[in-house]
Symmetry: C2
Amino acid sequence: MRRDVFQAIADPTRRAIIALIALQAMTPNAIAENFNTTRQAVSKHLRVLTECELVKQEYQGREIYYSLEIEKMKEIDKWLDQYRKIWETKFNQLDELLTKMKTQAKK
Amino acid sequence: MRRDVFQAIADPTRRAIIALIALQAMTPNAIAENFNTTRQAVSKHLRVLTECELVKQEYQGREIYYSLEIEKMKEIDKWLDQYRKIWETKFNQLDELLTKMKTQAKK
DNA sequence: TATATTTGCAACCGAATAGTTTCATAATAT
DNA sequence: ATATTATGAAACTATTCGGTTGCAAATATA
């Protein structure tokens, strides 16, 4: 099964899980308490997140603590970078235009 | 049908379309030439992209030029921001640790 | 040892998704 | 006027997705 980060963050529940475990590791049970779905459904989401390495597990007895693999989030940032260049250029163009207008207004 | 940006960028073909029209507006026909799918399939992708406002249309006779709505891309960047804070903090912590080690090494 | 808890996995289901083929509409060219 | 071109929409299909229920394995507790 091919999993990629973009597919993983497409689902709103998974984005919520990511937000939940971003700052502290949590067990599937604890995570599931925050949603209106079954624990098993959350488990499936965690599986997807694990498969694309957005999440890491830490075994502690019979419990498994899930936490965010923040490095993987940078992948999205990296993808965004090409577009960031575009909107920054557009901003610069607007900036230049405004400077031009100011200069002309002084005349 | 509820469309959001995250669902839109989940599909690899749609991400490729976004990349294609990021710098210059293109017609559906021209876009479709770059893929191994039918023009109609591309048309459906453009519909999804239009519905979530990632793309804007410009009518020119019987042709429609599609181009990227760069502002919408910032929405993803905005979402990433909360996680950017985390990885920057982690980097700072590492930075502090390295400074500490250097200081101790001098002793 | 017997029981309870935590968890993942398999099987199933309905809805959504991405693709195809076919068709309708509007603009342009001959 | 007729043919061609550009496009979107509809109908259909196979596959994937997110959810459920039921079960098994491993660990903790009585």
